[in-house]
């Protein structure tokens, strides 16, 4: 009897340790990386550099937050880069309507793309990978047609501060938008019915259906959220760079997926969250920054990034396996 209690408590300790690591493991990795960076490069800790990092990660961060919703349901959204690029074209192409109307139209069109993806996945029973792969290609095609293959120069006046502005002369406005987005996503995922449903659908679709959850509606919603945030990121970029371009988002879907995965959200769905994604985005952003500061050539940077992504996710899967 005594022996039994002993094994039980040891078992509990292990569980507690691994759940601690599961929760904070990537934060530890970020901290170590941060510390290493500050030792390696004297420039790293300067406020101007740190805020530079936060600005650089904001756009991909916002897209990754949207991606998190989709991946939590067990789906994937490959169309975010294209939707993002299309939004830059809409806001620049419609600048004669004024900044706010152009931005609103860009966001609404983005949501329509998401609605389409959601309907294809739920009613059309397409695999998310295929549905959004098709959309990814098609939306770029629409963009090229709309812009006749040329970049559209000049964002409308009136909203440029969201891309270029700073608060107190140093905090990039983009970063504030990223923080607000992440905070809102965190609250939605943890404190609302929709959030619970997202996790439930990702964890057990049939179980969710039998608990009265409209699985289709949840799935459609996450694709709309993802596309909306991709469009929102596009609006920021157009105002930042002052132009729009149909191919500007190419590859961003993969960066976003990488950030989500590094942040601890499992691609099978059901576990993870927005906070993890923020950490994932920062890990990749800090690493990028360091590689630039110490003048690592671009090609080598890609190798290092690839290794880090695999290593981070490997670390999590080792944790996961040890639990079983």
């Amino acid at each position: 009897m005594k022996e039994k209690t002993l094994t039980n408590s040891r078992y509990h300790n292990r569980i507690e340790f691994s759940s601690f690591f599961e929760k904070y493991g990537m934060l530890v990795v970020l901290g170590v990386l941060f510390l290493a960076c500050s030792l390696i490069s004297s420039v790293f800790l300067r406020p101007s550099n740190l805020f530079n990092i936060t600005r650089q990660v904001s756009v991909i961060g916002i897209i990754s937050i949207g991606m998190t919703f989709v991946i939590l349901t067990g789906g994937i959204d490959l169309s975010v880069g294209s939707v993002y690029a299309f939004a830059t074209l809409v806001i620049t192409g419609l600048k004669h309507l004024g900044a706010v109307p152009a931005a609103v139209i860009a966001l609404v069109i983005s949501m329509v793309w998401g609605l389409l993806a959601g309907i294809l996945v739920t009613k059309g029973r397409l695999q998310p990978f295929i549905a959004t792969l098709g959309l990814m290609t098609g939306v770029v095609g629409f963009g090229l047609t709309f812009s006749r293959g040329q970049p559209i120069l000049g964002a409308p006046e009136g909203l440029k501060f969201i891309g270029q502005g700073t608060l107190f002369g140093i905090v990039p406005f983009q970063s504030i938008l990223f923080i607000i987005t992440a905070a809102a996503a965190h609250i939605i995922l943890n404190r609302t019915r929709l959030g619970r449903h997202v996790y439930a659908v990702g964890g057990n679709e049939e179980g969710s259906r039998l608990s009265g959850i409209s699985v289709d509606n949840v799935k459609i919603t996450v694709y709309v959220v993802s596309s909306f945030l991709a469009g929102f990121a596009g609006v920021i970029t157009a105002n930042h760079m002052n132009f729009g371009e149909a191919n500007i988002g190419s590859g961003m879907e993969l960066d976003a997926i990488a950030a989500v995965a590094v942040g601890g959200t499992t691609l099978g769905g059901g576990s993870g969250g927005a906070a993890g994604t923020v950490i994932g985005v920062l890990i990749i952003g800090v690493l990028n920054n360091l590689l630039n500061l110490i003048n690592v050539p671009g090609y080598t940077q890609k190798i290092v990034k690839g290794v880090i992504i695999i290593a981070a996710v490997l670390l999590q899967s080792v944790q996961e396996n040890r639990k079983k």
């Binding site: 404190r191 057990n204 969710s208 009265g212 409209s214 059901g270």
Partner: protein
């Protein structure tokens, strides 16, 4: 050693945590006979077969096959030794051809090390011919009917030169016509000198094809008989005939108003004209053998599966149930037979599972009220005595009994009036079972109506106030608690005995 027997299993014992699945079971099989293995669900048939096929290792006991001690560590070496098992779920690879499936993992190869397709195809054709089948061996497996797939499974065991072939409920998913063909195949195999162990609970089939029958009950060996010496009554008596132990709570609740009424529910090809009702404070047992259509009926009532015709009424008011949410809004809760796949989100916490159906009641504007949620969950953890360290423990880590309590809590949190419990104690150890029974009684005292499906006769009889029985998609009888004996229920379950 007796060389009359191809297989001689002696004093096999196998325990799982909390359950003694087999205790001292001895089972012997003669060369060239068709031997039926009979017993109700949970009697230990499947476990015995898994021990034979070396999928499980017994705790104690010996197996002799063809007079030699048989001690194989894994199913592959058991197969090579000449034992072929055809499980209820087939293991065909859908997009490989018939021949490729038959020789999967055992492909003939050419000198160059490539698969010798010609040889494989002709060998496959020969085996199929021996089974009286005329199929193109290049056809891919997913195009085959269930019966044809089963034949391919049989062919697979023959390709490995199996001498003893075990068939687990081979007729469960076949039509009458297909069953006839299966029987002729089985007799053909017997003529070719194969020995067959035939697992079924359809008694008439045993009398049609089998030579001998052995009966298991509650993990114990009851006896073996020549089929020609016995009749159905004797078999039923061997399968059941226990006394009710006192671990069922007896104090029944007062019966109140009629809550749920199901009228002439029909789903073509699945179940037909099923009607029943259940009252406040009542436990209605839904009995029948596996495959009788019980789960299908309750899934239709809950809106999980569609139905073609019939009516569902709640307090006399007709309901329109198309989706689970319709049933849930009308205070019907459904604890599925498969907790892990359908009842719970294993990767979420106890708290989040319990409140999954009531999120709209604990939110203010858009935000869930964490305090209110916590209090609600605490209440259920206490009243149902859920053994979890705290609310945030993942449901995955709980025992079967506690997982089942979480499922119950989920529906109680929603204040369900009718609880449909499909095999509520499956996979739960004995102590926890009693707790679940007590809980069910407590609930009826609070006016809940419970519809319970169970394949354990003892359980149905012990806990139900009333029992209805189904056989092959049809209603075959109703019994009150006083008249319910295992024999009586079993008679209805096998379709009624004249």
């Amino acid at each position: 050693m007796n060389d009359e027997y191809i297989l001689d299993m002696k004093k096999i014992t196998k325990t799982f945590p909390g359950v003694k699945a087999l205790s001292d079971v001895s089972f012997a099989c003669r060369y060239g006979e068709i031997h039926a293995l009979l017993g109700e669900n949970g009697a230990g048939k499947s476990t015995l077969i898994k021990v034979l096929s070396a999928a499980f290792q017994p705790d104690s006991g010996e197996i002799y096959f063809k007079g030699k001690l048989f001690a194989h560590q894994n199913p592959i070496s058991a197969q090579q030794a000449g034992i072929g098992v055809i499980y209820q779920e087939f293991n065909l690879v859908p997009y490989l051809s018939i021949a490729e499936n038959i020789f999967l993992g055992n492909e003939p190869v050419t000198k160059a090390g490539l698969v010798d397709r010609k040889k494989m195809d002709s060998a496959a054709e020969e085996i199929l011919k021996g089974l009286g089948l005329n199929l193109n061996v290049r056809t891919s497996a997913h195009k085959l009917s269930v019966a044809e797939q089963q034949m391919i499974e049989i062919a697979k065991t023959l390709s490995l030169n199996a001498e003893l072939i075990v068939m687990d409920e081979p007729t469960a998913t076949l039509s009458d016509h297909e069953i006839e063909f299966l029987f002729s195949t089985i007799l053909r195999l017997k003529q070719q000198g194969k020995t067959i162990i035939y697992i079924s609970h359809r008694l008439e089939e045993i009398f049609r094809v089998c030579d001998r029958v052995s009966v298991l009950k509650d993990g114990k060996y009851i006896g073996s008989k020549d089929v020609s010496d016995i009749d159905k009554e004797i078999l039923i008596h061997m399968m059941v005939g226990r006394t009710l132990s006192d671990y069922f709570p007896v104090n029944k609740a007062k019966r109140g108003d009629k809550v749920l009424e199901v009228k002439n529910l029909t789903r073509k090809g699945v179940f037909k004209n099923i009607s029943f009702d259940v009252y406040e404070g009542e436990i209605l047992g839904l009995s029948g053998l596996v495959g009788a259509g019980r789960t299908e009926v309750v899934r239709a009532v809950f809106g999980a599966d569609p139905f073609d015709s019939g009516e569902i009424l709640m307090y006399g008011k007709p309901l329109k149930i198309r989706k689970p949410i319709n049933a849930i809004r009308n205070s019907i809760g459904f604890a599925t037979e498969d907790r892990k796949q359908q009842g719970l989100v294993l990767g979420l916490s106890v708290k989040k599972n319990i409140t999954l159906t009531v999120l709209e009641h604990i939110r203010k504007y858009f935000l869930l009220q964490m305090k209110k949620e916590k209090a609600l969950v605490n209440y259920f953890i206490k009243t149902l005595k859920i053994a979890a360290k705290d609310q945030d423990v993942l449901v995955r880590t709980l025992s079967g009994g506690n997982q089942q309590k979480v499922v119950l809590a989920k529906w109680l949190a929603h204040d369900s009036k009718v609880l449909i419990l499909d095999e509520p104690t499956r996979g739960i150890d004995v102590g926890a079972k009693t707790e679940i029974y007590n809980l069910m009684r407590e609930l009826t005292k609070k006016g809940k109506a419970i519809v319970m499906i169970s394949s354990e006769l003892l359980e149905v009889i012990g806990i139900s106030d009333r029992i209805i029985v189904m056989n092959q998609g049809r209603f075959t009888g109703e019994l009150s608690a006083e008249n319910a004996t295992e024999e009586a229920v079993m008679k209805f379950a096998i379709g009624g005995v004249e």
